[in-house]
Amino acid sequence: MAMEYSEKVMEHFAHPHNVGVIEDADGVGEVGNAKCGDIMRMYLKVSADEIIEDVKFQTFGCASAIATSSIATDMIKGQPLSEALKLTNQAVVESLDGLPAVKVHCSVLAEQAVKAAVADYYKRKGLPYEHPCGACGGEGCCGHDHGHEEE
């Protein structure tokens, strides 16, 4: 069965926003692994009053991995860190007008990438911060549920 992507997904995939690297980033988060087929790296530039002034991403992955990264960066740009931490994968999916069921893990990855970058910011500042993705300890999240069998 061919995968159906929404127009919004294809738009963000064809012309992703905020692609690139921030050389002097205040926080960098990388999640996923190449074995699973997707890796996202997110860079944050944060102001003194904890507003995300700039965000860039690099993603290795499928169209939905690129589209979720792109829209997630749009959603947190200009926001305070406290708001960025509230980003959920469901919100990412909704903003893209839905994702095919087998691609929902990409939205989880986007949420984790944002949170990993924020965590890195706090770590660099020496501030206490609990990684929101407790299950994986912040290492090697790939968003996949490996318990499921191939259909």
Binding site: G37, I39, Q58, T59, F60, C62, A63
Partner: protein
């Protein structure tokens, strides 16, 4: 520009196929099993189609059974060969790791029923080794099933030699020739084949029709219960328009086999040479034993689905063995069987050509693929990591 380069998935119908099918749809509506004139008319056309298909394979008409698809023919041949083996107490089957799922899943089912299956490795070039097959044959081996040519990487197996070995040891030999028939010479006598599966839509016939060749000495039983169609072996009224179209398409393909193969191979070789220029790329499958139309590459640092969809945006229809295109978590079993690590197999691209493609289209592909690969690599953290480690970022992998 629009380029259809996914002919291993399916092909456009040929004019010959359409011209055979259209009057059949209008006029040949009789049931070939009916005794009246409309029935006889349809039956006569069916006989002609069966003879045509048989001729193209160097078989006899009574050895051809029309099916709904290549998958059905694979299921039927393997299940029947296993049943015949079990009757003699033989419950061992030999296959290989890069078969189509129509074969692999049938074998898995048989394993659950108590059959033992040996999957021969295919080595880095995708080719089965005869000495490994010889060593795997046992007194209780009832079937060897090895595909003629692979759908993902285009590797052609030493079918004739495998068939000879099987004949010498008294073991049935089935080959899934879905990607071969109509594209390269297939001769069931010279190639020592006992059973062969083919599918019409891979050689410009419509979808929904295939055939099983089964040597007359093999006591084939029916797979689908029902009427007396297909000499009582496969119930169900025959799809006359599709069968006639398939016969016409196959006759046309076989009549132009050499010139088409030469034309398509030249385009394939140009594509391979051009794509090899991309740094950190690799061409999958044997360079020597290769189907005319199939080109399979991996590009490190990018993922296949993105590549495929970016090419689609550029007007190029291709395919990928990446996990993301299949909806599963693992990349293609064929690429993994070649020994490629997951992270490289994820970045695969298959371009499959037919005689309907042109050199201008090949040039367009060679213009677009390097550009898309470059764009995706520029946004890939994996590629960035690779660049950091590399001394010469432009080393060619091949």
């Amino acid at each position: 520009m629009f380029v259809y380069a996914d002919n291993a998935a399916t092909t456009a119908m040929s004019r010959a196929a359409v011209e055979a099918m259209t009057p059949a749809m209008h006029q040949l509506y009789g049931n070939p099993s009916s005794l009246h004139q409309k029935g006889r008319e349809a039956n006569y056309a069916l006989m002609g189609a069966r003879e045509a298909v048989a001729r193209c394979l160097n078989a006899s008409a009574r050895e051809i059974y029309f099916t709904g698809c290549g998958t059905e023919a694979d299921n039927w041949a393997i299940t029947e060969a296993a049943r015949l083996g079990a009757e003699q107490g033989k419950r061992h089957i030999i296959s290989d790791t890069i078969e189509h799922h129509a074969v692999l899943h049938t074998l898995k089912k048989l394993e659950k029923q108590g059959f033992e299956v040996t999957y021969l490795p295919v080595h880095e070039d995708g080719v089965v080794r005869l000495e490994e097959l010889a060593a795997a044959l046992r007194p209780d081996t009832c079937l060897v099933t090895v595909m003629f040519s692979n759908n993902e990487i285009g590797t052609v197996q030493p079918v004739r030699e495998i068939g000879a070995l099987c004949r010498e040891r008294g073991v049935l030999f089935h080959t899934d020739a879905v990607q071969a028939v109509g594209h390269m010479p297939v001769d069931v006598e010279a190639d020592n084949i006992d059973m062969l599966s083919l599918s019409g839509h891979k050689f410009h016939a419509p979808k929904g029709v295939g055939a099983l060749y089964c040597r007359k000495s093999v006591k084939l039983k029916n797979f689908i219960e029902g009427g007396a169609q297909e000499r009582g072996r496969r119930g169900g009224t025959e799809a006359i328009p599709a069968i006639l179209a398939m016969a016409a398409a196959l006759e046309e393909s076989c009549a132009h086999l050499e010139e088409n193969a030469a034309k398509v191979s030249a385009m394939r070789d140009k594509l391979i040479a051009g794509l090899r220029q991309i740094p950190c790329s690799r061409c999958n499958g044997s360079p020597d034993h290769r189907a005319p139309g199939i080109v399979s590459f991996c590009f490190e640092g990018i993922e296949g689905e993105s590549l495929l969809l970016r090419l689609d945006l550029a007007g190029i229809c291709a395919s990928s063995g990446s996990a993301c295109t299949s909806g599963s978590l693992d990349p293609s079993h064929v690429l993994l069987a070649l020994g490629l690590p997951h992270e490289i197999a994820h970045g695969s691209l298959r371009l499959s050509l037919s005689a309907y493609n042109t050199m201008e289209e090949v040039d367009y592909i060679l213009e677009q693929v390097p550009q898309v690969v470059r764009e995706l690599r520029q946004m890939s953290p994996v590629w960035m990591h690779m660049l950091e480690k590399m001394e010469d970022p432009y080393r060619a992998a091949n």
